[in-house]
């Protein structure tokens, strides 16, 4: 029984946040997994789906299915992409029972990264060290669709040198929402600034999340506000030594 996983790094992760993806690989390899990267991967189709373009989303989903169907485990450093694959692919194929069955099988093999570590690899201590005051941002899809709350916190609790401080209010949307961030830019910006207030109140110097999309929104707002607080993907923290 070889410990082998496939990485779906996500289109955003591939093009704009490669370090997060590399950190995922590093952590998994440290735990003894062999990681493969199916080269044909591109996107889960969420941008099209969320924008109401279901035919186009379906096309992309089919490609994803073909690319990853033979993987035993698929690890994804994104709550929203995992939710798209695991929950919303089914919405796209309700009228195609055969594809639906394949999608449902696939869905059972897809894991958000933190969930994979705590529930499949069964680890909480990955041997990480990170000196910093961290606050954790719960991305909405991960929190509400995948019910991920404890896993990242348990992992962070075992990182040597890391102090975790919770934001208040917790669990509020950062305002990214995919194309919402540009379609309703001013509103998205206002939501980001509210998030910033909560972050700055904690006194943390680092914001950590499971989703690069949220981090992109939050980091963009932090920079615009002239703050020195930085953002990191959970994987990057866990890869730190």
């Amino acid at each position: 029984m070889g410990k082998r996983v496939s990485l779906f790094v996500t289109c955003l992760g591939d093009q704009l946040f490669p370090n997060a993806g590399m950190a995922v690989v590093e952590v998994l390899e440290r735990l003894g997994y062999a990681v493969d990267f199916p080269k044909d991967q591109t996107c889960c189709g969420q941008p099209a789906f969320n924008s109401g373009y279901r035919d186009e989303a379906r096309t992309v989903a089919r490609h994803f299915l073909k690319t990853f169907e033979s993987s035993e485990y698929i690890v994804v450093p994104s709550g929203s992409c995992t939710s798209m694959i695991g929950h919303h692919f089914a919405d796209l194929f309700r009228k195609e029972p055969e594809t639906l069955a394949r999608v449902e099988t696939l869905g059972r093999r897809v894991f958000e990264f933190a969930t994979f570590l705590t529930e499949v690899a069964n680890v909480e201590d990955v041997g990480a060290r990170f000196d910093g005051i961290v606050t954790f941002h719960d991305g909405c899809h991960g929190l509400r669709e995948l019910h991920i709350r404890e896993a990242p916190r348990r992992l962070l609790a075992r990182v040597r040198g890391l102090e975790l401080r919770e934001m208040l209010p917790a669990e509020e949307c950062c305002g990214f929402g995919g194309t919402f961030s540009v379609k309703f830019a001013e509103l998205s910006g206002a939501m980001a600034r509210t998030k910033l207030e909560a972050i700055l109140q904690t006194g943390a110097n680092t914001v950590v999340s499971l989703d690069s999309s949220c981090l992109m929104q939050i980091q963009g707002a932090l920079s615009r506000a002239g703050s020195s607080v930085r953002t990191m993907h959970l994987a990057e923290v866990l890869a730190s030594r």
Partner: protein, 459 residues
Amino acid sequence: MSAGFDKKIHQTLADANLQLAIYTATGRLKDKRSESFAAAAMPDYQELRTQANALKKHAIENLDHYLEEFERNVESHGGKVVYCKDGTEVSDFVLGLAKERGARLIVKSKSMTTEEVDLNERLEHHGLESVETDLGEYILQLAQERPYHIVAPALHKTRFDVAGIFEKQLHVAYETEPEKLSQIARGVLRQKFLDAGIGITGANFLVADSGAVVIVENEGNARLTSTAPKIHIAIAGIEKIIPRAQDLAVFLKLLARSATGQALSVYTSFLSGPRRTDEIDGPDEFYVVLLDNGRTRLLPDRAKRQSLYCIRCAACLNTCPVYRKIGGHSFPWVYSGPIGAIITPQFMGVSHEPGLPFASSLCGACAEVCPVKIDIPQVLLDLRSEVKKSETREKKNRLEKFGYRVFAWMMTHPRAYAWAGWMARHAPVVKVGPVRAWTSQRDLPPMPRQSFRDIWSRR
């Protein structure tokens, strides 16, 4: 989205005082709701939600049966049921009755259903005086504004706003103390209750096995409206039906807590007809108006008919990070917040405000707090798809459609996708379109020289 929608959002975001008022008021209600449902306070909260959803589902799926049962029971207690297709039929009925009975003054308690059909405007147009008696609604009636929030209609008004409104409309001295302002309103409205020929209320629930309307309130104005005048008319959407009186043991535990964090609101009235022969007071005549106004257009859609389960608690408004920024008047119809976003397109058609289903980050906070478990984000996604199908049919927004076709093609051609990614990372940043929108609010992330797959391929 329409320019009007965009503009209203912008105006609300730009008003710092309004931002504070909305955020603080909704924050308070949100926190009170959370406290009241904490595990220690209500350990069976999730179970109750599941029951409430099941009851509403059953009622809606057997709606004709329960409407008829309701009607029979109302009539058996001496009341009358009037079915109305739309606002015109409602006002025709009220006007006809008022004329027959010689009633010129009407008192009204809060009812979003009557807002839906602009009842006051219609009645006033025909020379009747129809006075809102809920304090918030009364203030708005004087100011000639629509409600800002389903449960707290004057959320956006400061005491100074109210002082100005009362001074101008009621010719009283300028007074800013909320206690005193309430006393002024109480004084004026008291006499109206006692003089009115007709009292019009809404109904939170219509109980089929009892022929009863249930009205939930804190002030006492709905009780007065339904007790003092000789005629009581309760107006409600057909979807307010619940099968049995005992079902209230589920709904009442959820409603007030979801709305304001109260275990029960101050007054819950269960009214099943005109006063009985030996009762001392109460109305002589009792009518229940059952309004369609588009609900039957919504009903056939199995996936979206859950939108009709709503018990109008406004928990979704109080928790929605979008509502908490753009407020009630940014919305194009009388219903605002997440529930407004899903029922407006279904009542008015998706072209009424095509941007509305997109004015959401799909965070899902609303679905989490909905006492009847409406899956609002799912309905929003369905509506988004309908908007785009409609635009495709009408050949609108063709550039965007083309863009997503290109997206789909690219994402099924990995080399093209990789090339496009390289271009995005290496081309100079041009601040047009989405880039411009992004940078208007935030900085762009730094563009990495290498993508993940570049790094991987060099391992």
